[in-house]
Amino acid sequence: MKSSAMVTPRPAREAVSNASPAKVAFGGVSFSYPGRQALSGVTLDVPERRVTAIIGPSGCGKSTLIKSINRIAEIGTEVKVEGRVTIDGQDVYAPGVDLVDLRRRVGMLFQKANPFPKSIFENVAFGPRIHGASRAGDLDQAVERSLRQAALWDEVKDRLGTSAMELSGGQQQRLCLARVLAVDPEVILMDEPCSALDPISTARIEELIEELRERYTVVIVTHNMQQAARVSDRTAFLLNGQLVEVDDTETIFTTPADRRTEDYITGRFG
């Protein structure tokens, strides 16, 4: 990585900058945990039905940034949030926000695939069940649809009753994606979803992201700059909790405006 030249970005589809309305917007967001400020004054628009990559060195606040969207960052700790995080213009930190509904609309994939120690079927049915689906036919349908969308159906259709823990790492991550898709989200957050996967599994997830872009707004945190270049339309570079630069991915990887961005993507630090 250190010696590699600039990463070749995917060919630009269209200039995204002004083409797509913001699905998620950060307006001067500062986010602190007890004794540590993770984000300071981040302003960022995440366009609808596009893939936005968040890159930056470890500890720069990438994870906090996406976990502040579905308000997972605040679980089990006290946090202070300033500024506004909005989805479709609605502030997710406004009093009276229904967290259950928020998290149904904003699904998330984690760094480590985290299937529940239940059967494959029950994993995918988990979301629909807690959101009120109970008719067996509906569940079956939702499970099949989601597994197909996550390109896992053909591999598991004959063993839906076996434990999810028996799947390989890559399959587990696709199962988690199916689990997210089953609740019909609008935004999908991914926190380094391929960091524990082999190259082939990674490629499959990336293919899926490619397909997801048509229906969902995807925000992916990644350590892997090639990945950011391959899968995203927009790329945001975060450093020490501050947004350094955000632009179309092609621009970021070819003609970054900020010296620090260039240093980072050419591997001079990070």
Binding site: G76, R104, F110, P115, P117, F126, V180
Partner: protein, 330 residues
Amino acid sequence: MDSRIESKIGKAGTVPVVPGAVRRLRRGRWREVFIETFLRLNGFIAIAAILLIFIFLFKEGIQAFRTIPAGHFLQSQELDFDNVPQTVRLWQPVGQNPKYSLIPLLLGSFLVALPGTLIATIFGVACGIYLAEIAGKRTREVIKPAIELLAGVPSVVIGFFCLATLATFVQDALGTTFRLNAMVGALGVSLVIVPVIATMTDDALRAVPGYLREGAHALGANRWETITRVVVPAGASGLVAAILLGMGRALGETMIVLMATGNAAQVTLNPFDSVRTMTATIAAELGAVPQGGEQYRALFLVGSLLFVMTFLINLVAELAVARMRRRLAL
């Protein structure tokens, strides 16, 4: 491998070393070998102790069969006043025709241990879930030591409390015929095993990886749904282990049951009857019988049986914990 390293160091010149360093290294190595051996021995002592207890118990217990026919441990014949033989199931080791039926003792033990475990499970599991999943850090820091303190109360004190206070309360509240009965013992025993179950439930649930909770929350599950549908099922084997270990403790508890259950060895399934447990029988009688006699050996047989039962329960509990670790791929 160790010796190879040493020989290399020993042959001066193979490895460039400062004079004196070799000696220091050797001395350090000996110290390490000594500490390691000492610790290993301690580990084996535990196993040796269990084996020795096992051998000792069985050596005595098995001899009971030399003078008492095996069937008599279930039931024996007795002539009634009309000289008609009657089948009786009694533990009456003293007298002209001693009877050694283990049935009243087994029933007594289970009439205390099962309700005791049930009561302790309800409170212990609830308490463990609260500690692991709901209590804040500060609350936890107060409650956890308090529970451990309860575990440290001498069982004779709890027995005394059951005998003097709880028994009256139970009788007033439920109108039981016998003031001291299995249920009073069960309540007392549950006091002792609630801490066991609560602490182990807490441990089991805290061993459930945080990313499972995060995953559930991210799908929109609220705290209750996360606990009941993800965390508790994931830690279920650990909970089973907690309950089984509690039950093992309940079966083995002696002082409380000796004081609180009324000590009447009878064949009953009514938890409000006076009963006599296996442990209480051993504790009450062993000190007063001649060593090596028939009753002495019969009591050792009771002890052996108790040992086997608790051993099996603990074994299943260990297997449950191992299963949970495997399932969660910890």
